[in-house]
Symmetry: D2
Subunit: 249 residues, 4 copies
C-alpha cells in the first residue's frame, strides 16, 4: 500500500530536555520512526505535543490512515478533546500503533477500558521478543525472535483486555515476561500495541524493530472499500406477524 498516509506523533519532551536522549534521537523519536516508515514507502508526516492541537487537527486526522503514538512523561498534557478526537478517528477506521510507554496514554487507556498498568525497571537489560504467530503479517521477515541488548523491562501482569492476537511475547534478563505485541479492533479501527522503545536506548534504529513498525502500519491501514454498517432505529427486513395477541407492534 504505497499510498498509505501515516502521521507519527511524539510528545517530544525527553529529546529537548536530556542530552543523552538527544544524542540517540537527534531528530526526535518521531524523526527516527518516520524515517523507518518512509523507507517502506509510506507517505509520512509527523506531529508533536507542542504544536497547536498537538498537530492533530480534524483535517490532519481526516487525511491519516495510520497514526503512531509515542508518549511517556507528558500524558496529562494531552488535551482531552484531542485524545477523544483520536479515539473517534480510530473507531471510524484509522489504524493506530501504540508504542512502548504510550501504554499509559489517554488514547490507549480509553480504547482498552483498563488501567494498562504493568511492572517496569530501567536496568539496560536484555530483551528477547519471541514470535508467537508466525503467520501474522506483522511478524513478516522475523525469525524465531528479536534480540535487544538494552531495554527497559516491562513485566506482567500487563492490565489489558485479552489481545485479539498475541504476536510477540518478551523475555527479560531480570526474570519477567511481557505480551509485547498485541492486536485489537475498536469500532472499524485496528490497533497494534508494540512494547519496544525507551528514550534512552536506540531501539528505533534497530532494523528488525523498524521492519515490524512498517509491517504493523501495513496491517493497520484501512482498506479503501471496507464494509460499512449503520446503527440506530431500523425498519424490519422481514414481515413481523401482527395477527397475534402480542402487544403494540
Amino acid at each position: 500500500m504505497p499510498d498509505t498516509r501515516v502521521t507519527v506523533w511524539n510528545e517530544f519532551v525527553h529529546e529537548q530536555e536530556s542530552e543523552t536522549v538527544a544524542e540517540i534521537y537527534p531528530d526526535g523519536i518521531h524523526g527516527a520512526i518516520a524515517d523507518a516508515l518512509e523507507e517502506r514507502g509510506f507517505d509520512t508526516e509527523t506531529a508533536t505535543l507542542q504544536e497547536p492541537e498537538h498537530g492533530l487537527t480534524e483535517d490532519v486526522l481526516a487525511e491519516t490512515d495510520v497514526l503512531t503514538w509515542w508518549g511517556h512523561t507528558a500524558h496529562d498534557e494531552v488535551d482531552d478533546a484531542v485524545a477523544e478526537r483520536v479515539v473517534e478517528a480510530v473507531r471510524d477506521g484509522m489504524g493506530l500503533l501504540v508504542l512502548h510507554s504510550a501504554h499509559f496514554s489517554k488514547v490507549f487507556k480509553r480504547l482498552m477500558g483498563t488501567s494498562c498498568s504493568l511492572k517496569w525497571r530501567e536496568a539496560a537489560e536484555r530483551e528477547r521478543l519471541w514470535v508467537i504467530e508466525p503467520s501474522h503479517p506483522i511478524a513478516d521477515g522475523i525469525d524465531d525472535c528479536i534480540e535487544l541488548d538494552e531495554a527497559e523491562m516491562y513485566g506482567e501482569r500487563f492490565d489489558i483486555p485479552q489481545p485479539e492476537t498475541l504476536v510477540f511475547n518478551s523475555w527479560f534478563e531480570g526474570g519477567e515476561v511481557f505480551r509485547s505485541g498485541c492486536t485489537y479492533r475498536r469500532g472499524s479501527g485496528r490497533i497494534f500495541y508494540f512494547r519496544p522503545g525507551h528514550e534512552t536506548y536506540p531501539v528505533y534504529h534497530n532494523e528488525e524493530i523498524r521492519n515490524v513498525l512498517a509491517n504493523a502500519v501495513e496491517w493497520a491501514a484501512p482498506s479503501d472499500d471496507r464494509a460499512t454498517s449503520s446503527g440506530g432505529n431500523t425498519d424490519p427486513r422481514e414481515d413481523i406477524d401482527t395477527s397475534d395477541e402480542r402487544t403494540v407492534h
Copy 2:
C-alpha cells in the same frame, strides 16, 4: 456460592413515569431482577439512580461481589464520579452484569472502549437466543435456545470489542441477528453483557432468563483467594549482567 453479595442497580425512571411499565414491573425492574437472584440464594440488595450517590457509595461497592446494571433513558444523569467508581471496582475484581439498554451506559462504554452502538426497533417481535457455547456455565440448564415472544430488536453490527466468549446469539423475526450474551474481563473483574430486557416486555419474569441471570452472577463473582498481581517499579528476580559495555545499569 451462597454468600455472594449482589447489588441490583436500576435507573428506575420508566416504572415511575409509565403505567404500562409499572404494571409489568410493580416493584421496579430492579425488584424483578433481585427476586430472581434471591431465589438462587444470593445475598441481594438494590440501588437506584435517585438515591444519594445513586446508592453506590464506596461502602456499598466494597461489599458487593457482583453488580447488575440496568439503565435506558437516564444514562447522562449518572454522575461521572460514580461511573468511574464502578469502573474501578470492576477492575479490582467486582463482577458486572450489563443488561439490555445498559449497552449505552457510561460504565459499559468506558469498560469497552467502543461506541457500543447497534441497530434497534420496538415492534414486539419474536427473539430466539441460541446457545453457542453449551459448556459455558452461564448457559447451564438451557436447551438449544430461549424463545421470547415479544422483544425489542437489537441488531448487528453491535460495536463492541470481540467478546472473550460468545455464549448467546440472537435471531429476530424482522431479519436481524445479535451477539446477545458476551463475556469480557477487565482488570480482575468479569463482565457479562446480556441483551434481553426491555421495560415494556415482561422479560425478567421469564424463568429461563432468570436462570441465566443467576448463572451469570455465579460466574462473575470473584473468588475469595483470587490471584494477586502488583505493578510499578520492580526489582529484578535474576542477576542482570553488568560486566558488559551496555549503558547505565
Copy 3:
C-alpha cells in the same frame, strides 16, 4: 497479490449425477469458483476427486498458496493420505478456504479437532449474512449484510472451536442463526470457513459472495517472507547457573 496461486478443489459428484445441479453449475462448482477468483486476477487451477491423488499431489500443493475446498457427498472417498497431506500443507503456511458442506470434510475436522456438526434444512429459505467485523479485510466491499434468496439452512450449535474472528453471522428465515464466516490459524496457515454454497442454489454466481471468496483468498495467502520458527532440542541463549546444587545441568 496478483501472483497468488490458487487451487480450487471440488469433489465434483453432484454436477455429474444431477441435471438440476449441472444446469446451475455447467462447469462444475469448481468452475464457478475458479471463475470468480480469476476475475480478481489470481493464478487459478482446479482439481477434483476423480483425478489421481484427487489432483492434489505433493507438487501441486507445493505450488499452491491458497486451496479452496468444496465437498458434500463423498467426504469418505477422500484418501486419508491426501487429507493428511493437505492438513500438513496448511500447517506449513498454505491458506485454506473451507466452503459450505466441507464443514464435514476430513481436512476441516482434523484441523478443528471437533465434530463440526450442525443443524441443517433444505427449504430454499432466505439467508442474510450480517457483517460482524467491518474492519476485517474479508468483509471489504460489503455493506450491512449479504442477502441470499435461496439457501440451505445451517443452524447452531455449530460444533467448532471458537473462531479467532467471527466475520459473518447468518440469519435464516426458518428461525436459526449461524456463525457463517470464521477465521482460524493452524500452524503457519490461515483458514476461513465460509458457509454459503449449496449445490442446488446458484450461490457462487452471486457477486457479493464471489467478492468475499476473492477477499478471503487474499487474506489467507502466505506472505513471501513470513516469520520462521524452529522446534526441537535447543541450546540456551543465556548462561544457566550451574554453580548451585540443582540436579544434572
Copy 4:
C-alpha cells in the same frame, strides 16, 4: 464440587525404568497427582498404559468428570481406538487436563488440530510461571508467579491454536518464554494445558503446582445441568414463505 470424579492417567514407564524417577515419584507420577487432587476432596482414581484398554474403558470414561493425562515416551503405544474414545468423551463434556510432555499425545494433537511442536532443553534451569489472568479461577491462590528451581525448558513457538484464555506465561533461565497455561473448549468439553511436570524434577510435589492442578479440575468439570444442543436435520421454527417463485421448498 466435592463429588467431582477424576481419573488420573499416566503412561507409567519412566518410573519403572529409571531409579532416579522412581525415587522422585515412588507411587508414580499418577500417584503424586492423584494425591494432590484427593487433598482437595475429589473422588480420584488412576489408570495407566499397562492396564487393559489402558484403564480407560467406556465404563471408566462414563464415570469420569475430569481426566488428567501424562505421557512422554510411549505416546505411540496408546491404542488409536482408546485415544479416539477419550477425544469423543471430551467432546461430550468430560474435562481434560493435558500435562507437560502430553503436548505430543495423540489425544491432545487430535483435539488441537496442530503439530503441537515446541523447543525444549533439559538443563535443570529455573522457570517462572507468571499469572496473566488473575481473575481466572485456575489462578486462584497464586500471587504474581510460581517459581520452580529446576525445570525442563519448553520454548515458543508452541504450535497450538490460539488459546481461549492464556492463564500462565513462563520465563526460562536460558532465554525462552512459553505459554504454559492455556484453556480451550472442544465440543462440550473444557481443556487445560499445563506445562510443568518433567519426570526428573519433583514438580508435582510443589504446593502451588498442586493447587493449580486442583483449581483446573474444578474449572474443567462439567456442570450437572449443562446446556444441551442437538444437530442434524431440523424443522423450521418459523413459517417459510412458499408463495414466491423460489425453488423447491
